[in-house]
Symmetry: C2
């Protein structure tokens, strides 16, 4: 937490309040649910989404308690979607912890995910504005549609860039957008500023997801905790794969693989190509667009940290 | 639909609007999602929940469009929970139609359920009042906790009446309550009337679920579309089973079964006992309580139909 604390400077204490609020929720419910929630919230990550909420809020009227509540709601949405993803993917671990479906059962995991979505809606309703409610609902709809798109396209292994960007816009960028735009609403910013924050969140989310997809191809098994190329192994075609396939005149990847090419060979070939670094350049373009979205705001410590984040989401993958 | 139309008299047209609204939603989305939604909404049932919304609304200021929207939202919640139940139970059919998990995959089914919950929240937010949002969120939390309780207790096969009532209050009665209470809010009724409607919905829901649980034991395979006693076969202990076990001095059903008693024999023994009719008497008591909740309202056609429903949910199972 120390590095996170330093990095998030003026909002570090309030980000901890978000984590504390989530832990408190866990102790209020049915023992099975409480145990499940505690298990989930014990896996702390970079706290990127709460940080986006609190920092975006700092650019307006910093309504601490309301922003903490919004961050809790969106972190619950994020967690619920991970729980459901792990369940349907039959994943046994996440960040080194057993998943709920592994620890209890897929049934418990689906129900806990549903509960978390509902708890998120309940917190959002406490904010007393239907704008935030609508944003939350539309975000979950976008995330789910994005995943369904992935589900529909992963069968064919045929995918183009347009489809990829639509998919990650729903899957990842929608939640980043909701963090920034929602904080803009709660901190009572002007329509222009709220729109700038929404665009910032979208661009940052796309940059983040591209970089994540590149890391899946280029990382080593030790860092990733899974074999390189696991997305492709699960039938998910990402930007580095698309760019490689275009170059290799092998657009129809399925035919390529059915033609007898070994998946390990394909992944090695992608790693050795310039496709990963070209994909990272695209991520850097989105990160730059995110920085430019911030130009409407006067200089501040929070703005500086948000700009740093746009660089970090790309560079951590180099 | 003709019988339903006649039964629901003054709100029959508006109940059809609810169904139409849901069909229209289906055509707005990603083809896979649209196909899934159409598939779900093609299975029309008794429309009991939309009827509760519209009839409860008739007792106040009948805001047609807002009540239709509320009924759509709650029908989406109901559908989402059925989709998730079928997925985790690995059910292949419901009401003679293939389930989404059978037709597509468990992954698609979980995502579609999530989407439906979010769409419900989005519709509820359009009503512009955070009271309805909170009610919707709390209802899903109660339904999910109820199912988790069932999940936690079905392992042990040890259950007492208190636990059973807590479970069905969450599992079924919470949604009935939300239909009536939500309609009271939307139709701008007095706090006393809204509270009476909430209590009516809870009592009716409990009566409905007990009667449903009795039917599972006493029905024949042809009517049920599954073997009698399927709840118990899946490890779910319901009121007729509890009452039988008390009588038979066989409170520890698990020991009983492990003692070598055949499940078919146990179910036959329950059917032959007076436990089902005693359970139905309990259902009738809740139905009577529901009728008494309505005493606060002056006589009207809508009130008469609601009273009829309290009798029907019990008698259809005799």
């Amino acid at each position: 937490m120390t590095e996170t604390r330093r990095q998030y400077g003026p909002v570090a204490d309030d980000i901890e309040r978000v984590g504390q609020g989530l832990s408190d929720l866990a102790s209020e419910h049915h023992p099975l649910l409480g145990a499940a929630l505690k298990h989930i919230f014990s896996a702390h990550g970079k706290q990127l989404r709460p940080a986006l909420v609190m920092l975006s809020g700092k650019l307006g009227t910093y309504e601490r308690n309301r922003l903490v509540m919004l961050a809790m709601a969106l972190e619950l949405v994020h967690t619920a979607s991970l729980v459901h993803d792990d369940t349907v993917d039959e994943a046994l671990t996440r960040r080194g912890l057993e998943t709920l479906n592994a620890l209890w059962s897929p049934k418990v995991a689906v129900l806990v995910g549903d509960f978390l979505f509902a708890q998120a809606a309940e917190l959002a309703a406490r904010l007393g504005t239907t704008h935030v409610m609508t944003l939350l609902a539309e975000t979950v709809m976008a995330m789910t549609s994005g995943e369904l798109r992935q589900q529909a396209s992963s069968r064919a292994l045929l995918i183009d860039e347009g489809d990829y960007f639509l998919r990650i816009s729903g899957k990842t960028a929608a939640l980043f957008r909701a963090c920034c735009q929602g904080a803009g609403l709660v901190s009572e910013q002007s329509p222009e500023c709220i729109e700038a924050l929404a665009s910032f969140g979208t661009n940052l989310g796309i940059a983040f997801q591209i970089a994540d997809d590149v890391l899946d191809v280029t990382g080593d098994e030790e860092t990733l905790g899974k074999p390189a190329g696991s997305d492709l192994r699960q039938g998910t075609v990402t930007l580095p794969v698309i760019l490689w396939a275009e170059d290799a005149h092998a657009r129809d990847l399925e035919a390529e693989l059915q033609g007898g090419r070994n998946l390990d060979d394909v992944i090695e070939s992608i790693r050795a190509s310039d496709a990963p670094s070209r994909a990272l350049s695209r991520a850097a373009e989105y990160a730059a667009a995110a920085r430019s979205d911030l130009s409407i705001f006067p200089g501040s410590e929070a703005k500086d940290i948000l700009e740093d984040l746009t660089r970090e989401v790309v560079s951590r993958h180099r």
